[in-house]
Symmetry: C2
Subunit: 259 residues, 2 copies
Amino acid sequence: MQSKEKLSILKIGGKLLADEEQLKEMLEVFINQKGRKILVHGGGNRANELIKALGIEPKMINGRRITDEPTLEIVTMVYAGSLNKSLVARLQAMGCPAIGLSGADANVILAHKRVVKDIDYGFAGDVDAVNVTALQHLLAGNLVPVCCAITHDGKGQLLNTNADTIASSLAVALAPHFQVSLQYSFERPGVLKDPADDNSVITSLNKPLYQQYKEEGIITDGMIPKLDNAFAGLEAGVNEVVIGSPAAMSRGQATVIQL
Amino acid sequence: MQSKEKLSILKIGGKLLADEEQLKEMLEVFINQKGRKILVHGGGNRANELIKALGIEPKMINGRRITDEPTLEIVTMVYAGSLNKSLVARLQAMGCPAIGLSGADANVILAHKRVVKDIDYGFAGDVDAVNVTALQHLLAGNLVPVCCAITHDGKGQLLNTNADTIASSLAVALAPHFQVSLQYSFERPGVLKDPADDNSVITSLNKPLYQQYKEEGIITDGMIPKLDNAFAGLEAGVNEVVIGSPAAMSRGQATVIQL
């Protein structure tokens, strides 16, 4: 059996997008990786600034955005427009053949409007399907997809979708075809044993160790949903999940998670 | 010699984008054409509305926009973001495998910042090169590029570029590989003998006839630069240029221009 080609899927968090130095370092780490690549980016602050500048009341419930119609227009403008195209132009200038995509483009990510239970999240989309054929075609043309957090429902409606979910959906869908490294970059160096000490990165984590750290109270609260998602991806075929800062990833000192 | 595959490049003008009924008709005509397809769209009024809503003074000289930095961000958000993605989602809903592109995406259109002579147009881009290989790859994957009027300079700078110019640059660059029909849709049925009479469409025009109509004063002023550009495209290898409204195109009664 021929070994599968390597594919790195890197998600850049909103805070990194706003930090010029860290963003530069992250993009350099990204383009210098071997094999195929996909970048996924979140939103950053620009959407909120614009919502305020246009006199729209930002609606949040439990820290999650309620996407009404004017908000959807703004996040589409910022995520798929200014932010996505700036990243693409910048990657092109670095010699990386980037191509910006929303989920509507080439029908790459199909979603449905979140079903209303207790809370109506508005035009929030939950992912249904990834168009593997289209992505394979783009990758085969040596293109580097840069995916923003906008999807569509196939009936003409754009939807606002969590960027972490987009990254993991792409990773799982492409895992049968590539050896996928799913990478979440953020401002901390990795999963820490001591949240107050950036030198306490757990550089290697697997399922038994994760259980142990949870039982010992070393890994708590905020990291648990992120890591549960990471292990769900690994169980669905993703080869590894990497969590860390651009600097830690660059030095190979971020957290690497395998089953 | 094998005959070249047909490629339709349709440019939708700003006024049509704002007219739901005409836009719907135009998209239907577009997707029902045989062969490969590329859509090019202008801006519409949304960018101006947003410029005003954000308290920016729109700068125009001789009817042309001066693209300063805040204006560039807004046109990028609207053209490449909300407008492009709405069109893509809508085409996808109609069964057309659309993929939205700025000139930065896959380096499809490389431009340079317009050289300042009498007027500084700011971040306005004049087209230098079309990435034919990338477009051929997308078309070969049965994708339908939807190009907005944003380009880049290859050094990380996005630029605002005239949509008519984008359409004709694409047509000329692709003419060696396809039998190109370059179509300009607008609100009038075609090139008119009598500007006051929509039933006076010149359905077929060639170079000798164009000379004659100009000498007779039948074709004047506003239409001359458009038609000069059309003939320049034909002389550079484009097979035909079609000018007209969605309804006229749909009935085959628009103006068809060949050498």
